[in-house]
Symmetry: C2
Subunit: 233 residues, 2 copies
Amino acid sequence: MSVIEAIYEKCFTSEDSLLSLLTNEQNDYVRHNHTSLHYKKNDVLYKDGDVPTGLFILAEGKVKIFREGVGHRDQIVRMIKPYGLMGYRALFANETHITSAVAIEESTVIVIKKGDLLKLIHENSKFALGIINSLAANLGFSELRTVTLTQKHIRGRLAESIIFLKDTYGYEKDNCTLNVYLSREDIANLSNMTTSNAIRTLSAFAEEGVISLSGKKIRIENAEKLNKISTMG
Amino acid sequence: MSVIEAIYEKCFTSEDSLLSLLTNEQNDYVRHNHTSLHYKKNDVLYKDGDVPTGLFILAEGKVKIFREGVGHRDQIVRMIKPYGLMGYRALFANETHITSAVAIEESTVIVIKKGDLLKLIHENSKFALGIINSLAANLGFSELRTVTLTQKHIRGRLAESIIFLKDTYGYEKDNCTLNVYLSREDIANLSNMTTSNAIRTLSAFAEEGVISLSGKKIRIENAEKLNKISTMG
DNA sequence: ACTAAAATGTGTTTTTTAACACTATTTTTA
DNA sequence: TAAAAATAGTGTTAAAAAACACATTTTAGT
């Protein structure tokens, strides 16, 4: 099995994946009834206003979900890691998309179209509960985020974003470099601040020995201090 | 049938209520297997940190869902109207509550306990889809709200909150008075601003003829202008 | 009805952060 | 590989909104 095939396979079998909740029969059905899409860095998966077509499951890569707000300023509202779900919120709410999804690195996606998805939910209550669990977790994240983005000061917001990126994508082998590479602008859009302030505050953290920077690489040097900044503001 | 009984009955039959998706048999089951709770203004339904016990359906009244943030400043993240669901997000995410729910006026709630709820979902995929639809709608609201609360300026945020209250609770018989009475502090907590600024900005809107104020009564005098303030900032 | 407490309202000061203007560096691409 | 474009970085100014300090009014409890 090639590397690509192995990754693809895990999307159907990993217990982290929603698809692992399918019956053998359903699993088989989906294997023969889905679309597989490949995206390069900066490619658009869907955009604000589009009609949702189905459930997107990220097999490999990283995706940002954001909404354009006042004066072309984007707010990143979610970040997707492998086995994460996308494009289903609008579908289930019977709305058009209110956010856009863009690959931040090369990504592979499995798409299950609306009709098939509803069939799976109808047949399999465990699968339905998996969807419910995912939406509930997302809603919790969004509500927590609303509070911190509105109430914490710049340093607290940035520290929290760095911790969020660590929790979502983890470290590289060295156990301290964030396993995700974002532009300063994306970091700003995640943290509700201007790009200038993201740059400035990252530099301040580096100066204080909390993190260290080298291009887009961010290393957490003092996790405790970072937590404190995130919590205390 | 008394007024109370009629309200209660509608919760099981109104097509706006999730319970209308139940089969006759299930409907009957729930009628005999639920708790009915009554709350006075300012009573706590559940609070941040509590273990979720079941699905709360608001039969009558109004409830605010909020989270205490930095320095005891609350952020209201949802407002519930009759037939609205509460307390189910944490339950489905297998978490403790991350928000608190407090009645803003006398309220009646129907509680379906976790076991029964899971049984209903297992048996009835339409009901499951109803839950999914509700979570998806809430998530959309939360994501939109995150963007406006972080990006709009005070006037835009307050205007949007007033429109939100109108959309949620509607007008009184006069067709222009908001059918909900909030303290200035609650309005501030809904709009991410200090109480002083909520008071000041409400006065400014009244001065400009956009709204008129009389105690906790808010009348929309110029909906078009209000929309413009909300949209343009 | 009377008092204490809570909520509302207003002016001033201070803090935070965006906006702006620009340089330097890195990355694309022609 | 040189030019152009995009990204990163820095200092300064301006705007927005919080914090603070009170006065006034309304509400709740005895």
